[in-house]
Symmetry: C2
Subunit: 288 residues, 2 copies
C-alpha cells in the first residue's frame, strides 16, 4: 500500500489498510539485476508497496471523509489490475479471432482465469494448465475452459499440447516461461501470438532455464510481446464497457485466495511461486 502521511491541521488523510494484493511482479521488484531501475523497486528494509484498499480514518481534505474506502497507488483497486492485464494482453496483443485456439498457463491464477473466460466469450477454443487437480477442475467447472490439465502430471508437455491442439495454437497467453514455453513453441501455428504476461517459473531461479526452441518464432513467424497493466491503463473505459455487463449478467466469475493478517503476508507472497494459492492471492489486513 502506498504510504500516506497525515499531519493534523493539513489537508492530508490518514488511512487504515484493509486489503493488500499479492502479485508475482513483486518478486521482480526485488531483483537488483532486473535491468530497468524502477521507482517502485524494493530494497531490503523498505516497506513493500502494491495495490490495495484502505479506509479513511481522519481527513483534512474535503474530498475524503472518515469511513471512505480508497484504493492504492491512487488509481487502482486490486481487483482491477488482473482485469485490465487480462483484457489488454488478450485482446490488444493476442488479437483473437473467433474459433482460434488459445492456450493459457497458470490458468486458474489472478490473470489466467479471466483470460480463459474472455476467450470463451470471444468464441475461442480454450485449454488451460494448472498445478493441481483442484485447480484443473475449477478451469472446466467454474471458468468454462474447454479442457484443462495438470502440468505436473504431464511428463511430455509437447505430446500433451499436440493432443489438445492437433491443429496447433494460435494464441498462447504466457504466464510461466521455461519448459512450458519451450513446448508451446513447438506447437504454435504460423502467425501465432504470445502475449507475455509473466514467467513465474523463472523468477526464483538463480540461473533461469534455457529456452531452446526460439527459432520457431522465425519458422512460424510468431509475435511475442511482453507487457504489464500500465501499458493498458488508457483502455480502462473500453475495458469497463466490455466487462461490466458480463459481470452483471454473472457471465464472468472470479476466484480469490484470501490470507488474513499482515503477519501472513510474506508466506502468501512466497506461496505464489509454488502455486500454493488458488485464484488471485489477496491479503486482508483488516475487515474494517
Amino acid at each position: 500500500m502506498a504510504q500516506y502521511h497525515y499531519s493534523q491541521g493539513s489537508s492530508d488523510v490518514l488511512l487504515k489498510n484493509l486489503y493488500l494484493s499479492c502479485d508475482p511482479y513483486m518478486r521482480n521488484l526485488m531483483n537488483k539485476t532486473q535491468g530497468t531501475p524502477s521507482p517502485f523497486s524494493y530494497t531490503p528494509q523498505s516497506v513493500i508497496a502494491g495495490f490495495g484498499v484502505s479506509k479513511v480514518l481522519e481527513s483534512g481534505n474535503p474530498d475524503y471523509k472518515e469511513g471512505d474506502l480508497v484504493w492504492g497507488f491512487s488509481k487502482w483497486e486490486e481487483y482491477s489490475m488482473p482485469g485490465i492485464t487480462a483484457y489488454g494482453g488478450f485482446f490488444e496483443l493476442g488479437t483473437p479471432k473467433k474459433g482460434e485456439n488459445v492456450f493459457v498457463s497458470a490458468a486458474s491464477g489472478a490473470v489466467g482465469q479471466l483470460v480463459g473466460q474472455f476467450a470463451k466469450l470471444h468464441g475461442c477454443y480454450v485449454i488451460g494448465s494448472a498445478g493441481s487437480k483442484e485447480k484443473v477442475d475449477m478451469l472446466k467447472n467454474k471458468f468454462g475452459f474447454d479442457e484443462g490439465f495438470n502440468y505436473k502430471e504431464e511428463p511430455d508437455l509437447n505430446a500433451t499440447l499436440k493432443r489438445y491442439f492437433p491443429e496447433g495454437i494460435d494464441i498462447y497467453f504466457e504466464n510461466v516461461g521455461g519448459k512450458t514455453l519451450d513446448a508451446v513453441l513447438l506447437n504454435m501455428r504460423v502467425h501465432g501470438r504470445i502475449p507475455a504476461c509473466g514467467m513465474i517459473s523463472q523468477y526464483n531461479l538463480t540461473q533461469p532455464e534455457g529456452v531452446t526452441n526460439l527459432a520457431h518464432i522465425i519458422y512460424k513467424r510468431i509475435r511475442m510481446e511482453g507487457f504489464n497493466s500500465a501499458d493498458f491503463f488508457h483502455l480502462y473505459p473500453k475495458f469497463l464497457e466490455f466487462v461490466l455487463p458480463h459481470i452483471r449478467e454473472e457471465k464472468i466469475v472470479y476466484v480469490e485466495d484470501i490470507a488474513e493478517g499482515l503477519e501472513n503476508g510474506p508466506a502468501a507472497l512466497v506461496g505464489l511461486f509454488s502455486g500454493r494459492n488458488v485464484g488471485k492471492q489477496v491479503l486482508v489486513v483488516a475487515r474494517e
Copy 2:
C-alpha cells in the same frame, strides 16, 4: 531454381539457370522436425529450389522470347529478396523512430547490410556485429554503420553491448540467435522491438543453445516477432518507391559474394553457417 517443363509445340518455356541465391532459410527447409510442413521443404535426392535468374532458351509462349531473362519462383529475382526482407523487418516490425539505437547482428550479410543502411537513412544510431575484421571494416567504411565489432573477439557480449549502448537498444534486428540474443535481452530498452529474421547460429545444432534471459521480454515489455520475406510481398511497390531513388543516388550499396559453378553450390551453402561468405552469397551457374 523452380523447375520449368518444356514440351515442343506447347506454350512452355525452356530456361537456362544463370544465377542462384544461397540463403540460410534453405537450411531449415531440410529439417524434418521444423514444425510446419511446407510445399518448399527439401527431401534427400530432391532438387534444391530457391530464387534465381534464368535465360529463356526456347519458348512456345508469346510472352517470352529467346534470350529473355526471367527470375525464379516466378515472382522475384534474388536481389529483391534480401531487400524486401530488410525493408519489411526493419520498418514494419521495427517501427523505428529517428534517433533510436539499433543493433544488427550478421550485419555484413545479405539482409544485415541493408538494415544498417536503411537505419542510417532513417536517422538512427546503428552498431553491427560480424565475424571478421574484414567484415567489421566494411560495416563502417562501406555501409556507414556508426560502429561495428567482431563478436568472436568479445568474450563478454553483455559488457560489449553496454559499452556501445550505454542507454540501451531500441531495435535489435535478429539474425543469429543464441548467446547474442541472450546478451541483447539484458540491454534492451523498455518497449524495445526485436524483428526476428534468422537465428543462423542455431540451425546446425542438434541441441539448440538455451536462451536464459527471456523474462526480460516482460521486464522491458519487448515485442519480438518472426517473419520472412513473403510476409511483406504486398509492400513491394512501397519498397521500390523507397529504395530506387537511394540506389540511383548511390546512397545504398550492396556487396555480394559470388561463387562460380554449380559444383561449388553445396560448399557455398554450407559456408553460410560458418560465415565464410562476405556479403550476400550468390552462385553463378552460367554468365549467359
